[in-house]
Symmetry: C3
Subunit: 266 residues, 3 copies
């Protein structure tokens, strides 16, 4: 799990152009499509129950994002998730707002129970709510959890058998045994809607080309964080930052990733 | 109701970070989330009937926007609106396209009848249609109304007991007794989708920190208009304007608002 | 069908401001609204079955886009399409992802059967799938078709009685008898989500002011391609390109179109 590996995964994404099927929220769906294209993968968004199984059968990874969930959408997620499992492609779950309403918490739990999730990516409050670790969520913002995020993430990953990503100023990636901290990123990313969702799309794109999901998720977060740092140097407001962020994701060079990655195993 | 007051309300939003629950259209939902973040508040979008009551219970204001309404969405708006009323938080209604189709006009009327709306914000045609004042609307564009907008707004506000905002080259804010004209803004704002919806999000953010909704709405429109004027000085096309507009909302300084506000009581 | 004609159509759009009713996907709906405004037309998005007939009755063109279709949405498209036919306004169909799932292919066929479509605009794979010409589609990307696109497009247009646009590095426009190739455009347009959808919105805006849909579609694609070329000269990443693209559409001058159009009849 070295910066060289991260850089080579970007090369693989650009060479293979994996298809990333999203069932996601209506707020940031366009951001997710564009960040997927920017890293070099191909996005497709489809959620009609009549077509999700067929669409996911041709995909290389599946993203399930609860940002503006509905009963019908969660049913499509279950259907798509089970098909993804039978096809052997990775499933990334972003439990947006878990902890804020029962529907969000329960839908996330249902998906974790019925679908073999590869990577669960949330903020500390969301992961804490799902791990019964006192996660506090207001709207879609984390208000913290009771205890050390690394310990909680590790334990939840171990119990549930999935890779857990806890996003924050420092991102945590763990499968319960191994753990990495990604220190790349910039505070501006928190002032813009959609950066969490975009991170999940990138986690999926990297998972599509690397079956070790601690490595692939760490690489995705380092790459996105580096793009954020580079974008922040050039801009000051949230929308000029957004423009620069997407341009930087598209323009990431292997040598930037190798030089700028700030990742440590813990 | 002075520019000093407007500036101090921005400070309060940034200090308190009120949560603004939106049930809104799929066209401009991302713009609404980002403008809410830019002014310093926190957006959340949720419309499933199973969760809207719980979500709005933790919010500080509710925005209902009819831009791409459906029967189910209006039902969720009724549910969320009544909960907002019982929690005592302000409800902002943006009756997009009222007057263009019966469904939009009737849905807006139903919401006004069943929910205690704090601020009704529309263009002249939309407000005129709801006030039976001959409002003409084509798609989502105002084509004018029969009579003076200020008189019509005042009378409708008096009859219905809500604060009325009529957006346009000059915005009108009135509760039927007091009235203000906001002359800030720029023609470029009309060349971009979503500026009306973004204005409603800002009206909600200001309403969340100030219970006098003539003052809070006037402050919101002045602040947004000032950001528009500043953005227009730096750009010429609609998307570079959009980028600058959001950056300017995020960067608004109290002294800019105090110096540039063009508001008069009438 | 000369560059002078194309330029004059832009002038007509700006003078008449035709209303373009869209029933479209949730990914690029904002891009479609903004490109419609940028060329000088007025967008409206409405898909509730209770209002689509009334809304389309006041419109000047209708866009049907299958990007994130649902059963209910297709029903609204049928309803709106038949009303558009009875009002005599043009209907543009963008069969996004036809060929990738049965639901998409069958929905596109159903719309073509039940609604008199004026212009069918897709990539080579999508058109090939609908023409039974071996179109291959992965997600929403064309993977080619069996045979020459021009021949396949011409034959399908002849059989089905509609104008066919096949988008690609070189766009093809044909009604089965006449055909044109548009060589304007830039590879950056393929690195951004939504450019295909935006092209369909422009095809609709031009169709609203010109009943010869080979000419109107050719003009729309030349105009959009020219804006793309101009934007690409100024930018390097996908989002700064997006900003410049929309600004260039808004700023297109007749003399730019006359000087830069690269269109040939074949």
């Amino acid at each position: 799990m070295t910066p060289q590996t991260f850089a080579s995964l970007i090369g693989e994404i650009r060479a293979k152009r994996p298809l990333i099927h999203h069932i996601t929220n209506s707020v940031t769906i366009n951001d997710c499509a564009n960040v997927t294209l920017s890293i070099g993968a191909a996005p497709v968004m489809a959620e009609a129950p009549e077509e999700v199984e067929e669409m996911v059968s041709g995909a290389d990874a599946l993203v399930l994002n609860l940002g503006t969930l509905s009963r019908n959408q969660v049913n499509s997620m279950l259907r798509a998730g089970r098909t993804a499992n039978s096809c052997g492609i990775p499933v990334i779950l972003d439990p947006v707002g878990a902890g804020a309403t029962r529907m969000r918490t329960e839908s996330a739990r249902l998906l974790i129970k019925r679908v073999r999730i590869s990577v669960l990516k949330g903020n500390a409050g969301e992961i804490g709510a799902l791990a019964n670790a006192g996660g506090r969520v207001r709207g879609v913002d984390s208000r913290g959890l009771d205890g050390d995020p690394l310990d909680i993430g590790k334990e939840f990953a171990r119990e549930s058998g999935l890779t857990v990503v806890i996003s924050g100023a420092k991102d945590i990636v763990t499968d319960g045994i191994r753990a990495a901290i990604v220190e790349n990123g910039h505070a501006m990313m928190g002032k813009l809607s959609g950066t969490g969702c975009m991170a999940a799309s990138l986690v999926a794109a990297f998972a599509a080309v690397c079956s070790d999901h601690v490595t692939s998720s760490t690489a995705a977060l380092a790459a996105f964080g580096i793009a954020g740092e580079r974008a922040a140097q050039k801009t000051s407001g949230p929308y000029s930052f957004r423009t620069a962020l997407m341009d930087e994701v598209a323009g990431l060079l292997p040598e930037d990733v190798i030089r700028q990655a700030r990742v440590r195993s813990v």
